[in-house]
């Protein structure tokens, strides 16, 4: 057993747990809060905000990527004056419309007055969330490295492994980058690394280790294979961001670690029965159903029930589909433009394979009246109602909606929020929305110290 603390409280967990595993093992479901209204968030596998906390004094650390160490001090952030006595929780009672996009510049608090300056300082404090001491000890620049390969494969799932093996067999120098812990047999693999950006039409790829004390990399490659797989998109129904709602990979991981999920309802697009069977050892699977039948997820601080055709009490709602790809890297490889970045066809040498190449399944949007209360971007407190009202007022350009609401500008940087936004907009307007805002690197994949280590490794274009 390993001892650690959560908000000063001593807890114990098992060797091999991540910080998020350890908390969940101790029954802690609420790990964080939304940005403005401080609604509770937990580990969902979908929304990064739900796993951000202060770790040994460092703000905004992903708990699911931190291996548990003896004495690790975990602390909830965005609480004031302290996590144990958090007055900011009162914001939960604010009506959603009071903090919609534009709330920060009301006419009655106009700039040019002392009142505004005080308001603006308060905004900065409330928006800041994590605490960073200005006098924090200097962190040395983590030197990066530059590599050159014939082929780079991103992802080590079945498709990535097959591609890597075939390229290797063809006599090419191959490198695999994967977030996961397992290397591809016989191929050089950077495990626990995230490829976070594609530059110069696919010729340069940047990657960073999940461990911030290790250096980032710039990889020059002739061929780029994106085998980034698919992920399950949360349903656009009320309660979709409650602690206890999670995607299938997260639930399966917890089950594998022997962590109790309580009563579980699994919804999906076909995989729900199989996922339910796999989860049976971690909890009591009380129902499996098509995601399309899900009307709402119920609970105040965490999941207590779901509404299908009937109400079913449970502590976890697991979604196994709809499955969607991560469009980020392919977009960056193909994107160009002056007025706006748009992705044409992929440049030569760049391929998308496996699940990532399959068409996205339609995101589940409940009936529109209910979807008003669904979170579209929980981190930034963007609810369905705000999007629907703006769409009704004629604002349907996804980039304008992003700028107006802040949707997708939090730690996830648009995935899955923009997919949910598109689905909601399509349902509201009755026509397909074949458009999303630009996926911008590096999506918090590296620290300033790691990025600084890439200086001088890439010549500016001359």
């Amino acid at each position: 057993m390993i001892a650690f603390t959560w908000n000063g409280r001593r807890l114990q967990a098992q060797e091999g747990d991540s910080a998020a595993d350890a908390l969940r093992r101790n029954g802690v479901r609420v790990l964080a809060a939304t940005r403005k209204r401080h609604r509770p968030l937990g580990w969902s596998g979908s929304f990064v905000q739900g796993v951000l906390a202060e770790v040994d004094g460092v703000p905004n650390v992903r708990l699911d990527q931190v291996p548990l160490r003896p004495g690790l001090a975990l602390r909830r952030q965005n609480a004031w004056p302290s996590p144990g006595f958090d007055l900011l929780k009162a914001f939960r009672w604010l009506p959603a419309r009071w903090v919609q996009g534009g709330f920060e510049h009301p006419r009655w608090l106009a700039s040019g007055t002392g009142r505004f300056e005080r308001w603006e300082r308060l905004l900065g404090f409330l928006a800041g969330e994590g605490r960073l001491s200005p006098a924090a000890p200097a962190l040395p620049v983590v030197p990066g490295a530059r590599r050159r390969v014939d082929a780079l494969v991103v992802g080590a799932g079945p498709a990535g492994r097959a591609e890597a093996a075939a390229l290797e067999a063809a006599g090419k120098t191959v490198l695999v980058v994967t977030r996961g812990p397992k290397a591809v047999e016989g191929v050089e693999t950077l495990t626990r690394h995230e490829a976070f950006g594609v530059y110069r039409g696919g010729r340069l790829v940047a990657a960073a280790p999940l461990d911030p004390s290790q250096g980032a990399l710039v990889i020059e490659t002739a061929e780029l294979v994106l085998a980034t797989g698919r992920r399950s998109c949360p349903p656009v129904v009320p309660g979709n961001d409650l602690p206890g709602a999670m995607d299938a990979p997260t639930a399966l991981h917890l089950a594998e670690r022997g962590i109790d999920l309580g009563r579980v309802v699994v919804v999906g697009t076909g995989a729900e029965a199989a996922v339910g069977a796999a989860l049976a050892r971690a909890g009591r699977v009380v129902a499996t159903a098509p995601v399309a039948s899900l009307r709402a997820i119920l609970g105040r601080h965490a999941v207590r029930a779901v509404a299908l055709d009937r109400r079913i009490a449970c502590e976890a709602l697991v979604h196994a589909g709809p499955w969607i790809g991560d469009p980020g890297l392919a977009f960056q490889a193909a994107a160009d433009g002056r007025l706006r970045l748009t992705a044409g066809s992929l440049p030569p040498g760049v391929r998308v394979v496996g699940g990532a190449a399959a068409p996205d399944e339609p995101v589940h949007v409940g009936d529109l009246a209910a979807a008003r209360r669904a979170a579209v971007c929980p981190c930034m407190d963007v609810m369905g109602g705000e999007i629907l009202d703006l769409a009704a007022a004629g604002m349907t350009h996804v980039e304008e909606l992003k700028r107006q609401t802040g949707c997708g500008m939090g730690p996830c940087q648009g995935l899955p929020c923009w997919e949910m936004l598109r689905a909601l907009l399509a349902k509201a307007t009755g026509s397909a929305v074949d458009d999303r805002p630009s996926h911008r690197p590096p999506r918090r994949s590296l620290t300033v110290a790691q990025a600084a280590g890439l200086a001088e490794l890439v010549e500016p274009q001359q």
């Binding site: 994590g130 960073l132 530059y199 007025l339 980039e399 107006q404 690197p441 990025a451 500016p460």
Partner: protein
């Protein structure tokens, strides 16, 4: 005095719905012009006006820049009242930090000029610097000038303010409407064709940012400028650690912490001008290196996003303002690199100049043909890399 006979009924077409296009249109309507129409090829806030660093300062090193920007700084302070909208201009102060002897001399010598222009400007001592910017490492700092009236204008609030205020005065503003042709009648523009619609025009204002050269070419005229990508990045939000806006001219870097808690800024690298919104690695790495050196506490923060915007670079980085010498009824307000800082005041001056058919004295040094006359307006305190002009300038 062309067109004055038509007076306030003149049909004015503004090309570009960024902050200068919208602002000029607003001020024209405010002066009584009844037919002002803004067309923009992109989406609202899609151009540089929605992608910039949002910093505002009035004090530079040259009298020409300082007079224009000091005026604009004053207008920023009053802008919410002018527009009847909250533009969120925060007067949090702006620090120009010198690390080289040359920059030190330059900024310290500019302080009397700043004061002449009505700005609160002073050289601050190391203790004051430490108090104003406790997160900054000061071992390399030789001097710093504090501009108390400077600060930050989050572009979304200012853009919405100008858009709403302009529309209230009857200005028609349309996005997604690209200019495809400019019809001429001798040395005058007769009409602008935008989004398939022919808009007859008695006067045209070119405020199309990086696209201005291409638009001017439709009218058969040239601008001494070229499109260039500028990149910036945002760090993840933390509780306030940096109050003032900061420029580090010796490192070509600027930054501030936004009301969203994010630390937003960027540094320039010397590269061939890029005509794209796609980002590249050197700016991210260079900016990070500067942060790590100058703001050591930031080294542990993660980078949320990195993006690019396009501006229209001129040989002296100054804007192109005033009538175009080759077309009687074409006015220009483009070539901005400190476009947000200059917007609150210059939009008013350009509108006044159009109404009086005579460039205001503050914009006259930035005349469109100054390079051909051998009269650039250089300023040593700007945070932009000197670039080789790709087009030969006579």
């Amino acid at each position: 005095m062309s067109g004055l006979g038509l007076g306030l009924n003149r049909r004015i077409v503004v090309i570009g719905g960024g902050i200068h296009g919208l602002g000029t249109a607003f001020h024209l309507a405010r002066l009584g012009f009844r037919s002002v129409r803004v067309v923009d090829a992109g989406y609202f806030q899609g151009g540089a006006s929605g992608r910039n660093g949002t910093l505002v300062r009035g004090g530079f090193a040259s009298p020409e820049w300082t007079r224009l920007f000091a005026f604009s700084n004053q207008r920023w302070i009053a802008l919410s009242r002018t527009l009847g909208e909250n533009v969120m201009y925060t007067r949090r102060g702006y620090l120009i930090v010198a690390e080289s002897e040359r920059t030190q001399r330059l900024i310290e010598a500019a302080v009397p000029l700043h004061r002449d222009c009505g700005l609160s400007s002073e050289v601050i001592d190391p203790a004051t610097l430490k108090r104003l910017a406790p997160s900054m490492a000061t071992s390399t700092v030789r001097s710093a000038v504090q501009l108390r009236d400077g600060g930050v204008a989050p572009h979304h609030a200012a853009m919405q303010g100008f858009l709403k205020a302009a529309r209230r005065l009857g200005v028609v503003v349309e996005y997604g409407k690209a200019v495809s042709a400019i019809e001429q009648d001798g040395s005058r523009i007769a009409a602008v064709v935008a989004g398939g619609e022919r808009l007859p025009a008695d006067l045209v204002v070119l405020a199309a940012g990086a696209q201005s050269v291409a638009v001017a070419a439709l009218a058969g005229v040239r601008l001494d400028a070229f499109p260039q990508r500028i990149e910036a990045l945002a760090l993840e939000p933390v509780r306030p650690v940096l109050r003032p806006a900061i420029a580090l001219p010796d490192r070509l870097c600027y930054l501030h912490q936004s009301a969203r808690g994010e630390i937003v800024g960027g540094a320039e690298v010397a590269e061939r001008p890029q005509d794209t919104l796609a980002v590249d690695l050197p700016v991210m790495a260079t900016t990070a290196r500067i942060y790590a050196e100058m703001f050591p506490a930031f080294a542990r923060l993660r980078i949320l996003r990195h993006w690019a915007g396009m501006l229209l670079a001129t040989p002296d980085w100054g804007p192109l303002l005033g009538p175009h010498p080759e077309l009687e009824n074409l006015w220009v307000t483009t070539g901005w690199s400190y476009g947000i800082a200059g917007a609150a005041g210059t939009t008013e001056l350009v509108a006044q100049s159009i109404a009086g058919d005579r460039p205001h004295e503050l914009i006259r040094p930035f005349a469109v043909d100054r390079f051909r006359r051998g009269k650039p307006v250089t300023d040593g305190s700007i945070v932009l890399a000197p670039v080789e002009h790709p087009a030969a300038v006579p």
